[in-house]
């Protein structure tokens, strides 16, 4: 009882009432803002979520971050064996192993990020039911956490290149922009799938097929020069085509300059991202009720 009376007498360290932020909670209606301001205000939580995903990714594994190296490396070995050696796949005049590895580095970032962010809301269902934060933080953090793996794998690429007598030139400066394109694509597809996954657990089971299918629709094991021109630009509507071709062009000087393909890829990546964000925001209010 003493507690209660004390409460009325001493009012400690509260800001003036007029300076307090005001929130209005209303039923969702029609079109809503993209919530970017709210997102920005929670950037520290984004950082913590990324940091968590990175920390726990290789916990209780023997090889730890070695997996970030091994995954693309082993895939490269398998590809070189089956497509390069046995399949005699053309590789634009570059040794096949490095040809496929340059594509696998951004691809692994994308495929892993997509899977993680698509599952992020469902695996953190409990947080969503108990705490408020902009929900888009979850798939974003899950996708961005893959950047660490990307950097490691990219380092491996740089180490492998001299083996075949290759060295990157000034075009390596394009890599950050190409990475941005990969991030945009990952987030766009990740937002779509994460939002859908809250209601349709079907997504969880289709994910392996989505990534596998997407991989064959992207010139990783084969060069896009297998396609003739009008088709190649249309092919570029898969934004990962732009990313992969860009990587090969910037690092290996193999593919022709991506030009039209790149324009198509950037456009479709933006469409994917913006539509994903809008769909996500539309469904966001129901996450806590359905997840």
């Amino acid at each position: 009882m003493a507690v209660r009376q004390a409460g009325l007498s001493e009012t400690v360290s509260l800001p003036a009432l007029s300076s307090l932020p005001e929130i209005v909670i209303e039923p969702p209606r029609g079109w809503i803002s993209l919530g970017l301001k709210d997102f920005f205000e929670h950037r520290e939580l984004l950082y913590f979520l990324m940091w968590r995903d990175i920390k726990i990714r290789y916990k209780q594994t023997v090889l730890g971050a070695g997996w970030a190296v091994l995954q693309p490396l082993l895939t490269m070995v398998i590809f070189s064996l089956f497509f390069g050696k046995l399949g005699k796949m053309p590789s634009d005049g570059v040794p096949y192993p490095i040809f496929s590895f340059a594509a696998l580095v951004p691809w692994h970032f994308f495929a892993h990020g997509l899977t993680q962010s698509a599952n992020s809301l469902v695996t953190s269902a409990n947080m969503i039911r108990k705490v408020y934060f902009p929900r888009a933080l979850m798939p974003t953090a899950a996708a961005l956490a893959g950047l660490v793996d990307f950097v490691i794998a990219f380092g491996v690429l740089c180490c492998l290149m001299p083996i075949w007598g290759l060295a990157p030139d000034w075009r390596i400066l394009w890599i950050p922009l190409l990475l941005l394109l990969a991030v945009t694509t990952t987030l766009g597809a990740g937002l779509w799938l994460a939002a859908l996954n809250t209601q349709f657990r079907d997504i969880r089971y289709t994910l392996p097929f989505i990534t596998q299918f997407w991989m064959f629709a992207t010139p990783i094991a084969y060069p896009s020069s297998l396609l003739e021109q009008p088709w190649r630009s249309i092919y570029g509507l898969n934004p990962m085509v732009g990313v992969v071709e860009g990587f090969r062009w910037a690092m290996l000087d193999s593919s022709p300059s991506p030009g039209f393909v790149m324009v198509a890829s950037v456009m479709s990546a933006l469409v994917l991202f913006v539509s994903g964000l809008i769909y996500f925001r539309r469904m966001e209010d129901s996450f806590a009720d359905v997840v």
Binding site: M1, V3, R4, A6, G7, L8, E10, T11, V12, S13, L14, P15, L17, S18, L20, P21, E22, I23, V24, I25, E26, P27, P28, E44, L45, F48, W51, R52, K55, I56, K59, Q60, S124, N126, M127, I128, R129, K130, V131, Y132, F133, L196, Q199, F200, R201, R282, M283, D285, S286, A288, D289, V290
Partner: protein, 443 residues
């Protein structure tokens, strides 16, 4: 500008609950349904219906026409039965879920504590979890840095800071989680029944901490079933029933109204009760009390045998396996006095018929005269099948507990009676030396 911290106007929240569909008649029909329904659902998906996949048909208003105001610095207890809408109200206020209608204006930073330890990751260490959990609850990094030592001291887990939380005991985990939450200092704090965790000593510490928070002029909304805690912490009360505000005002009046309402509720038949939890594998149908002569009685007598007969019915005609039941008695303030659990006393029931009755025998009823609420619970195969929080009220009459003809009266002599005896110690007359019992004397 008004100085309300929270202003809710005509708030409503509708949930969609799954309705049991009629059983399919033929294989052909059910096959056709299985083929067609995914297409129907897909149609709903593209129409942007958020509940497309879950077969959700009927709406249920968890909150309706809820309007209230909270001034800055007020500490309000939200009271109500299970399913009255308390948790939904907190979820709407903390922006976890959107209301279906109405509007709330909130002035100030809101911190909500609907669960202790949300987002704890078992693989991370204590230190890492403090930062992660703090950030999830809405603390800034600098704020956590500043309060870090305080949090660790409060949780009493200094030695295990660098140990992954998965190696913590459940008690330690709860302490750490509450310590983080207790140091959250927004202007408005929403707290849901989180004090019901940890051991008694820690609960007391938590209550003290809650009192501190309340006394710093912060606005607190506090949900609990523990009326003692509510009356101790809150100045005002808000009573919810079936999603509507039934009463607001000084906390003592609202608590009284709640307790009165409970007595009415308890006289209803269990079959019609909707405020129950569990998966429904079996449901309680009725409770009958039998006196020492196996006759139906409406009041137990202190010190005499009492038999409680619980009727149940399963949701299909198969026998039920591995069943556990318990009945728990509470005083009017909601404090647990004792409970009888089948698994503890004589093991779970391996197989029970799909419907029937189970009886629990208490050879010497230990509560002093008064009215006590009881809770019923049962599980099948380890999963809660039915739980009715305020299942009923048992009237207890005075009886000759000690067999001496001295009848115990109502409190304050204590609620629980214990069998005991008094005696003069034979050789207790020696003076000036420490007394040892004969059995311990060595010669």
């Amino acid at each position: 500008m008004s100085n309300f911290a929270i202003e809710a106007e005509d708030l409503g929240k509708q949930y969609y609950i799954g309705r049991q569909k009629l059983p399919y008649r033929t294989f052909r029909e059910s096959f056709a349904q299985a083929v067609i329904s995914p297409f129907r659902k897909l149609k709903k998906v593209f129409a942007g219906d958020p509940h497309a996949a879950a077969n959700l048909e009927e709406g249920l208003w968890a909150l309706r026409h809820v309007s209230f105001q909270v001034r800055h610095g007020e500490v309000i207890g939200i009271i109500g039965h299970n399913g009255a809408g308390k948790s939904t109200l907190l979820k709407v206020l903390s922006r976890i879920t959107k209301p279906t209608e109405g509007r709330v204006r909130i002035r100030g930073r809101v911190g909500s504590l609907l669960e202790v330890g949300t987002g704890f990751h078992p693989e991370l260490t204590g230190r890492e979890n403090i930062y992660l959990n703090g950030a999830i609850l809405g603390m800034k990094r600098a704020e956590i840095d500043r309060k870090f030592d305080e949090i660790v001291t409060f949780a009493e887990t200094e030695r295990f800071l660098e140990t992954p939380v998965k190696h913590y005991s459940s008690g330690m985990r709860v302490r750490l989680a509450f310590a983080v939450a207790a140091h959250l200092q927004p202007e408005i704090l929403l707290v849901d029944e989180v004090l019901a965790v940890g051991d008694a000593a820690f609960q007391k510490k938590c209550l003290g901490k809650m009192g501190d928070v309340a006394s710093t002029g912060r606005t607190v909304l506090f949900v609990s079933h523990n009326m003692a805690a509510i009356t101790a912490l809150c100045s005002k009360g808000l009573l919810l029933s079936n999603g509507r505000v039934v009463s607001t005002g000084p906390v003592s009046e609202v608590v009284k109204k709640y307790l009165e309402g409970m007595n009415e509720l308890c006289s209803t038949d269990l079959q019609d009760r909707t405020d129950r939890q569990g998966n429904g594998r079996i449901r309680f149908t009725d409770v009958v009390f039998l006196d020492e002569n196996e006759r139906i009685t409406h009041a137990a007598v202190t010190g005499l045998p009492l038999t409680i007969v619980l009727g149940y019915v399963g949701n299909d005609d198969r026998p039920v396996r591995n069943v556990d039941m318990d009945i728990a008695f509470y005083n009017p303030l909601g404090q647990l006095l004792f409970f009888c659990k089948a698994r503890m006393a004589c093991g779970s029931f391996d197989v029970l018929p799909p419907w029937g009755r189970i009886s629990c025998h208490i050879p010497k009823f230990p509560l002093s005269p008064g009215r006590y609420r009881f809770k019923l619970w049962c599980s099948v195969g380890g999963h809660t099948a039915d739980r009715i929080e305020d299942a009923g009220v048992l009237q207890v009459e005075s009886g000759d507990f000690y067999g001496t003809g001295n009848l115990p009266t109502r409190n304050p002599e204590g609620i629980v009676l214990v069998e005991h005896s008094w005696q003069v110690v034979e050789d207790g007359m020696r003076r000036g030396e420490q007394w040892v019992p004969d059995s311990a004397a060595v010669d």
